[in-house]
Symmetry: D3
Subunit: 227 residues, 6 copies
C-alpha cells in the first residue's frame, strides 16, 4: 500500500493504438461488448479534441499535483496521461505549463477526473484534455501518490499501458490484452455500419432489416390507428 512510481510498463503496439483512435469512442466501446466507458461527465475542453494513447496513470491526493510532475519522469511518446484523485475534487491540477511539458515529451493528451485550467492556452496549443471540470483553482505539491498503478478513473478501471481513446463522445479504455482483438472487431463493425447507413439513407427501416417487428409483437406492443 506504499506509494510508488513504476518506471517501465508494457504498452500496446502504436499501430493498434492508431487504429483504435481512428475507430473512435462509440465504435470501440461497442466492439468490446459495451464495456470500458468513463462516465459522461468527462468532457473535452474543445469540440474537435481527439486522442488515442497508452495510459500513463497517476493517483494523487486531491488538490495536489506533485505526482503529475513525477509522471513526466517516466512517460514515453505516445502516452496519454490519466489522472485520478483519492477523493472527489474539481481543482485545476493541470495547466498550460504541464501541457508544454507533455508536448515536449510526446504525451498526446490528458484524461483527468478532476479540474483543468489555462484552457484557452491548451486549446491554442491543440493539447486535448478531457476533464470533470474547468477550474482555475491552484494546487499544492505536498503529498505522495503513485504513478503507473491500477486506478479507477471516472468509473472505469484503468491499468497502465491500456489504450485510451477519447473524442467528442467521451473516453473509453481498452485493456492491453484485448487491444488487438478490439481493433479487428471495430474495423468489421465500421464496414457493416457503412452498409447499414446506405440502407437507412434509402429510407429502409431498422425495424425491418434488424427484424424488430417480430420482437415488438412478442413484447405485446400493439399498433393503433389513432388516439
Amino acid at each position: 500500500m506504499a506509494h510508488k512510481i513504476i518506471r517501465n510498463i508494457k504498452r500496446v503496439d502504436p499501430e493498434i493504438v492508431r487504429t483504435l483512435g481512428e475507430l473512435g469512442v462509440a465504435t470501440v466501446h461497442e466492439a468490446q461488448g459495451r464495456t470500458g466507458l468513463m462516465k459522461s461527465y468527462m468532457r473535452p475542453i474543445y469540440p474537435t479534441a481527439r486522442a488515442a494513447g497508452t495510459a500513463l496513470t497517476v493517483s494523487s491526493q486531491p488538490g495536489d499535483n506533485l505526482m503529475i510532475h513525477a509522471a513526466m519522469d517516466v512517460c514515453q511518446a505516445g502516452d496519454i496521461l490519466v489522472v485520478t484523485t483519492t477523493s472527489d475534487s474539481t481543482d485545476g491540477m493541470f495547466g498550460d505549463l504541464l501541457g508544454v511539458s507533455c508536448q515536449a515529451h510526446g504525451v498526446v493528451g490528458l484524461i483527468i477526473d478532476a479540474g483543468v485550467r489555462d484552457t484557452s492556452e491548451l486549446t491554442a496549443m491543440d493539447f486535448p484534455v478531457w476533464a470533470k471540470a474547468v477550474h482555475a483553482q491552484g494546487t499544492v505539491k505536498s503529498t505522495g501518490g503513485s504513478v503507473n498503478v491500477a486506478v479507477v478513473c471516472a468509473g472505469a478501471a484503468v491499468n497502465p499501458g491500456d489504450v485510451i481513446v477519447a473524442d467528442a463522445d467521451g473516453v473509453v479504455v481498452v485493456p492491453r490484452d484485448q487491444a488487438a482483438a478490439v481493433a479487428r472487431a471495430g474495423a468489421e463493425r465500421v464496414a457493416k455500419e457503412e452498409k447499414t447507413r446506405e440502407r437507412l439513407r434509402n429510407r429502409e427501416l431498422g425495424l425491418d432489416f434488424y427484424g424488430l417487428r417480430e420482437k415488438l409483437k412478442q413484447l405485446g406492443v400493439v399498433y393503433q390507428d389513432s388516439e
Copy 2:
C-alpha cells in the same frame, strides 16, 4: 397501460410551426404565459443548433432504443423526435445511423431526455440534437414501450403533435391547440421588443419606461448616496 404505437396523430399546420421556430424559444415561452419550458439541462450538441417540428413522442425503457426504431415507422416529414425513458438514464440511445434515418424521412431533430452519441457525425450532418448527456454508452433492443403517447420530457408535458421549438436557449413545448394563438402573440411581442431595444440603445432605463421607480418605492427599497 399496454404499450402501443399510434400511427396517426393530428399535427399543427407547418406554417405555424415555421413561425414559432423563427420566434425562438425565449419569445415562444413568454408568448404562452411562461409555460412549457423543458429543464435547463437539455443542451444542444452544437451552438448553432435550431429546430422546430411536430412532436413524435417515444417512451422507452432506459438503455433500450427499440422504440426509437419503431417511431421511424410512423414518422412524417416535419416531425421532431421526443424521446423519454421510464426512469433516469444517460445512455447514448441515438447515434449517427438513426440520424441518417431521420434525415431520410424528413425528421428535423431530436429532443432526448437521456444521452446521445456520434456527436461529431451528427454535427457534421447538421442534425440538431438537444440531450441531457453526451455518452457513447450503447443500448439494447429488448423491451417494449410506446410511440405517440403523452409523455413528460425534462419536466415538460408533451403530447404527440404538439410543436417543439429548440435553440441555444433550450427547448419549449407549445400545445397543439394553442399553437396559432402563441404564434400571433409571439409576433406581437417581437415587434414590441424591437421598440424597447431601440430605447435601451439610446440609454433610456427600463426603470423609467416600465414604470418601476414607483414599484421600488412601494416595496420600501431606498436609495442611499454611499456605503
Copy 3:
C-alpha cells in the same frame, strides 16, 4: 436589513483593472494566494468570452429581475454586473434587451449565479456572460432587493467596486484594496512562468527545477523498475 440601492461606490483604477484582465483568471487567482475564485459551475456562454471590470452587485429574489433594472440606474462605464439571488435559481433573469442596455452604458459583462437567455443574441453582440445555467425561463418584477451591497456569488464574497476578472477558466474576485498589489504580483508571476515554459519546452522536468525529487523521497514514494 432593509433593501437599498447605493448610488456611489469606490472603484478600482481602470488601468489596474485592465492589467488584471490581461493577466487572466488563473494568474490572478495564484497571485493573490489562491483565493477569490467562484465555483467551477460558472461557465461563459461562448468560449472566447473574456472580461474585467468593477463589480456592480445585485441581490435579487429568485425569479425576479427588478433589481437588475434598478442597477442600470447607478452603473458606470467599466462596471461588470454581478447578480445573485437570495436562494438557488436557474431562471433566465437576463436577456438580450438587458444586454443592449448594458452596452449602451458601458457595462462590460455579466456574472450571474442564476440563468441567462437569448444567448445567441448576446454572443452575436459579443456581450460576455458567465452563468450557472442557460435557461429561457422568464422572470417577474415584483420583489425588492439591493444594489451595491456585499454579496456571495457562486461561493465567493464580492463587495461593490471589487475587480472581477473572467475568462474561459472561470471567474475570480480581487478585493478593491488588494487590486494594485495583485496586479504587480501577477505580472511577476507571468515573467517567471515564461522562463519555466522555456525550460519545459526543452524537456527539463518540473521534478528537477522545482526540487521535487527530494520531496518524493521524504514522502516515502519509491521508484520501482516494473510491475
Copy 4:
C-alpha cells in the same frame, strides 16, 4: 393560459384511495405497469411517513407560496397537497403553520417539488411531507399561479383528483380513471407475492420458479467453474 383556481374537481372514491395506500408505492407502481413514479429525489421528512389522498394541485412561482394559501380555500378532507413551481426551486414554501391549516381541514399530507421547513414541528404533528429539499428559506406572496390544474411534479404528470400514494419508497400517481383497476391488480399482486416470499424463504431460487435459467442460456450467459 390565465391563472385560475378550480373549485370543484372529481375525486376518487375514498375506499379505493385507502386500499391503494395500504398497497404502498412499489406495489401500486407495478400494478399499473411501472408508470406514475415521481423522481427518487422526493424524500419523506421522517422514515415512517405514509399517506394516500386525492391530489389537490398547485402551480406556483418559485419562492412564492401565495397559491398554497389559495389551495386551502378549495381543499376537502382526504386531499393531499401537490405543489409544483414554474421553475426549479428549493425554497421552504411550506412550514408548520400551513401544516396546522392542512390538518384542520383534513388534508392528509404534502408532496412538494421544492423545499419544506419546520420539519421538527411537522414531524411532531405527524404531518407527512415528501420534498426535494429541507430548507428554511422563506418565501413571498406576490405572484399568481393556479390551483387544481394539470401539473408535472418531480417528473410525473398529475391531474387534480388523481390518487397519490407515498411512503418510504417515494411517491406514485394513479390516474383517476385507473384507480379502481389498479387497486384490484395490486391486491392480486400482493397475494401472489406472499406465495413467492414463502418459496424464497424455503431457499427456492427465483432463477427456477421464474423460469430464468432458459433465459440466461438464450442470452449466451455461460457458467464457469472458477476464475
Copy 5:
C-alpha cells in the same frame, strides 16, 4: 493574504446566543429579513441535532485537517466550529477524536462544508454536526490555512464571533452586530405566530387573515367552478 490564526475575537453575549438557539433556524432567518441561510445541502447527522454558538471559523486546504487542530488552540466554551475548504471537497475531515476534543473544550457543534466521519460515535456522544457529506475518507495534515478569518460557508458569509444557529431545518448565520436585534424580532415573531396557529387550527384561512383575496384579484387569478 498570508495564513493566520487570530487568537482573540469578539463574541456575542451567551444569553443572546441561547435565545437565538431557542428560536430555531426558520424563525431567526425570517427575523433578520430572510438572510444568512446556508445552502440546503448542509444536513444534520442525526434528526434531533440542535445547536447555537459563536463561530470559530477555519479555512483549510481540501483533504487536510491541520487547521482544525489549530483551531482547538484558540477555541472557547460556547463556540461552534465552522469549517470551510478552499475548494469543493467531501473528505471526512472530522471524526470522533476531534469530537472528544471539542467537547472537552466546550465547543458545542460543527458546521462543515465538507465531509464528516465516525458519525455513529458522534451521534452516541450527542455532538451535533451539519455537513455536506458523510464520508470516511481520511485527510492529511500538510498545508497551511487560517483560523478566525472571514469565510464563505455553504453560500453564507461568516465572520468569527457571529452567531450560528442550526437545527433540523439547516444552518443560519446571524452577524455579530445584529444578534441582539434579531433575538428581539424573533421573539416577537414567535408570539405572533402562536396567534396565527390558533386561528388556523380553528379553520380560518390564511387567504382571509393575511388579506390575500384582494391580491389574487389584482393578479388576475380567477375562480372557476369546475374543469
Copy 6:
C-alpha cells in the same frame, strides 16, 4: 467479453471478515493507507445498518435485475451482494423478496450502485442495504450480465471474494490478499486511538501531541492577537 457466472471464488477467512467488520469503515480505510472507499453517495437505508462480508459481485444492464437472481444461484453464507450496472441508473433493482431470498441463503447485506425499494420491509427484516437511491422503479429481466467478475462499484474496484465493510460512514473494500494485514493494522490503530482519545478528553491538544506547532511555523502560519 462474453457474459459469465463464476461458480466458485476464493473467499477471505470468516474470522478476518468478522474482525474487519468490528473495526468499521473509517478504521479499515485508514489501516489500508486510505484506499478502497466507495463514493459518499452510498448511504445505508437505516442509520444502524452495519455489515461485513465477502463480495459476491454482479454486473447488470441498468433497469434489469436478472443477474441478481442469477447471483443467488452461486452465493454462500457470509457473502455480501455487490451490484453494479453498466451505466448510471437509480432503478429499484432489489426489493423485499430478494431480501428474503438473501437471508434464506445467509447473504448478509447489499451494496448497490443503483436504487433499492421496499425499504420499510427491508428495515423491518434488518437486512442492511447501502444504495445510491431509494426508488420504487421496477425492472425487467431481459438482458445478460455477469456474476463474480471484477467490477467498479461507486468508484471503487471490487473483485469477487474481497471483503466489504459497511456502516453509517459508508462502504470500504479490502482486497482479498490484504485482508489479514489490514485486520492487524486496524486493531493496532484502534488501540492507539483509545490512548489519543483519553489525552484529548483531558484537554490536551492534537497540535501538541501530534507535533503540529512546528509544522504550522514551517508553513508560515502566523498567530495574531486580534483582528
